[in-house]
Structures are given as C-alpha cells and as structure tokens.
C-alpha cells in the first residue's frame, strides 16, 4: 500500500515539475514576423528611424481618436516599438495595415501591458493580427496529471487482493500482503510445527518400563 501511494505521489510530482515547460501564454498569434521584423533590425537606430517612429506614433494616436477599434497606443522606448491595442476581431486587419504603412516596429496586441513586458525579446509579440488566443495551458496539464495519478492509483489498488486471514496454526501472522515470498512460505512451514502432547512422553516411558519388567 505504501509503495502504491509513493508511486502516485512521484507521478504527481513529475507532472507538476513538467508544467512550466508546457505553460505558455500566447499573445495574438497570426501573421508571421515580416522580413523587416524587429528581431532582424539593427540594434542601433538612426535619427531617421526615430523620426519615423515618432511620426507613426502621432498618426496612430490621432487615428485612435476617430477609430474606436484602436483602444490604446503606446511607445515602448527601450525597444523602440509602438504597441497598439486593437479591439477583438480586428487585430489581423490592423496588423497588416500598420505593417504595410509603417513597418514592423508597430506591434498589434490586445494586452499592451503584457506586450510591453515581453517586448525586449519580441519573440512573444507578433506584428500580425489574429484571433486572441491568450490561453493558459497550466490548468489542463494539472488536471491531466491528477487524472493520470488517480487512475494509476486506482489500477494498482484494484490489483491488490484482500484475503480473509493468513495465520499459522500457532497464531503467527504469515503475511500482511497479498503475495508472499518463498522465504515467508518456508518460514511459515517451519513455524507451523505441531508439538505432541505431554502425555505422549509419559506413555512412551510407561511402555518402556512395562517392557523392562
């Protein structure tokens, strides 16, 4: 029983430890990073590049006042990106529009805060739009781990049979587990010796005395 319980715990721990490797929070999947994507851009920007970004920011900011689909615009200075929050369902349309119009430094997202924190790598950002698949796989793996552990526990538990009693004739418990080893069997045979009654020796001595008479 103890072995089954320890095995179940070990399986659960393996599932929990492996969760971070699978947990992912996607931010707006969709269009691939373009040819001139930020990840391929030169690390240093020229004055012209800064000016382009400034102009793009101002234009998108002005557009946001008229266009209700543009929820928010933010310039991320440490990565020189412009993050644009777009209403659900329009990410792809606006992403393609901004890429074509301004370049890949304009990033469409539906969560500016998360995009801003992930912006140094850009790998977590997309320049294209798409349906919002912000999805946390963590709970699925946890449920999977619990189900797997529980199933294993139940399967191993069912394999264990309960028997009425295993006891030698002298009261010694032979085994508390279902299966017993050869060593335990031999030990049980050894311990199950039957002692003859006391009268047997007396009877023998009487017969000997009778024979000697």
């Amino acid at each position: 029983m103890k072995k089954i319980f320890m095995l179940a715990i070990a399986l659960l721990l393996v599932c929990i430890i492996s969760l971070p490797a699978f947990a992912a929070e996607e931010v707006s999947g969709g269009a691939p990073v373009g040819e001139n994507s930020y990840s391929e851009a030169a690390p240093l920007l020229t004055d012209e590049d800064y000016q382009r970004r400034e102009d793009a920011y101002n234009e998108i900011l002005a557009l946001s006042k008229k266009d209700q689909a543009i929820l928010d615009v933010k310039m991320v200075h440490h990565s020189e990106l412009i993050l644009v929050a777009i209403a659900d369902g329009h990410e792809k349309e606006y992403a393609q529009k901004f890429i074509k119009q301004y370049g890949s430094f304009v990033v469409v997202t539906n969560d500016i805060a998360a995009a801003e924190s992930a912006s140094p790598e850009l790998g977590g950002l997309t320049t294209g739009g798409g349906p919002d698949n912000s999805f946390n796989n963590l709970w699925i793996w946890l449920v999977f781990g619990i189900i797997l552990t529980g199933t294993t526990f139940l399967v191993l538990l069912r394999r264990r049979r309960c028997i009425a009693a295993l006891q030698a004739s002298n009261g010694t418990v032979i085994a508390q587990n279902t299966t017993i080893s050869a060593k335990e069997t031999i030990s049980a045979v050894k311990k199950s010796e039957t002692v003859p009654g006391d009268k047997v020796l007396d009877s023998i001595l009487r017969k000997i005395d009778k024979n000697n008479e």
């Binding site: 049979r161 279902t178 017993i180 069997t185 031999i186 047997v200 023998i204």
Partner: protein, 172 residues
C-alpha cells in the same frame, strides 16, 4: 540436534541412560510428530506412531547407523505410511504415495499453513516437511524416500510455489 550429537546420545542410550533418551525426544519429537501428522492427518494415529518410534529407539538404538537422524525419520515416515494404508480407505491404496488432499472450502475458517499443505501431494508434503521441519538435505531426503535427487528438488520447489500461490489467494 546434529547427527554427531544424536550419535553420542544413542551411545549413552545403549547403556540405558534415560536422560539421553529424554534429550533425544525433546529435540526430535516436534519435527517428527509434525511430519507424521502431515502424512496421516490423524492426531491419535500420529501419537501412536511417535510412541512406537521412540519405544523402538529405546529398545533397539541404531548405534551402527551412519545417519541415525535419517534412520529415525525414515522409520517414522514408513510407519506413518503403513498407518495410512491400514486405515479404512475408499481409494486405491496402491496410489497412496500420490494421494492429494482436497482443501476444505470453508471461507469462515482462517487459512493456515496446514490447510495449504493439504493441497500438496503426499510426496510433496513429505519432502517439504523433511526439508523445512526435519532439517534434512535433499540428498538425505532422496535416500529416505528412495527417489532420485532431481525429482526431490523439483518437487520441493513445485510444492513451495504451490504453497505460495495458495497462501496468496491465487494472486501469484
């Protein structure tokens, strides 16, 4: 009690030493009675046979026997087999050596090793009892039972596995 110790006691017994006799009885009576009882399955008959063995031992000590221990157990075993043969039976007594005792199927009873031993054939029961309880080596058991050594070893392991299976409720 080893053969050397038994031999010294028998030597003393030849002079009528009751103390030596009682020492022999004290050391050998339990394993011998266990083996006899497992063959006969009859307590009274087993006690009679045990008495007969020790009376013969006292009256005619086997001083010249090379293996006095095996000699005594062989005598006990032969008397037990004869006792079983003489008992009224409804089976062919020629097959007594291969007699299989059917287990008592009563789930209200506790399982114990004696019930498990009943599932063995008579030969297997003797081999297991002589080896485990009597402390005999397989070669000595082969001499006692007048059977090949290989057969004795094979039957012993088969019997132990059967006991394991029975005691494990069939899980093995």
């Amino acid at each position: 009690m080893t053969n050397n110790e038994l031999r010294s006691r028998i030597t003393a017994l030849c002079t009528g030493d009751r103390t030596a006799f009682e020492e022999i009885y004290k050391n050998l009576s339990t394993p011998m009675y266990t083996i006899i009882l497992r063959i006969t399955q009859d307590q009274l008959l087993s006690e009679d046979i045990l008495q007969e063995v020790f009376v013969k031992l006292y009256l005619s000590p086997p001083a010249s026997a090379a293996n006095p221990r095996a000699y005594l157990f062989q005598m006990a075993r032969n008397l037990a087999i004869d006792g079983v043969r003489k008992r009224p039976q409804f089976i062919d007594l020629d097959d007594c050596e291969n007699l299989v005792y059917l287990p008592v199927i009563d789930f209200s009873q506790k399982l114990d090793i004696d019930d498990a031993l009943k599932t063995l054939s008579l030969m297997e029961c003797q081999i297991v009892s002589l080896h485990v309880n009597g402390g005999f080596k397989f070669r000595e058991i082969a001499d006692i039972l007048n059977a090949p050594l290989g057969t004795i070893i094979w039957k012993y392991h088969k019997a132990i596995n059967r006991l394991r299976s029975h005691l494990s409720g069939g899980a093995i």
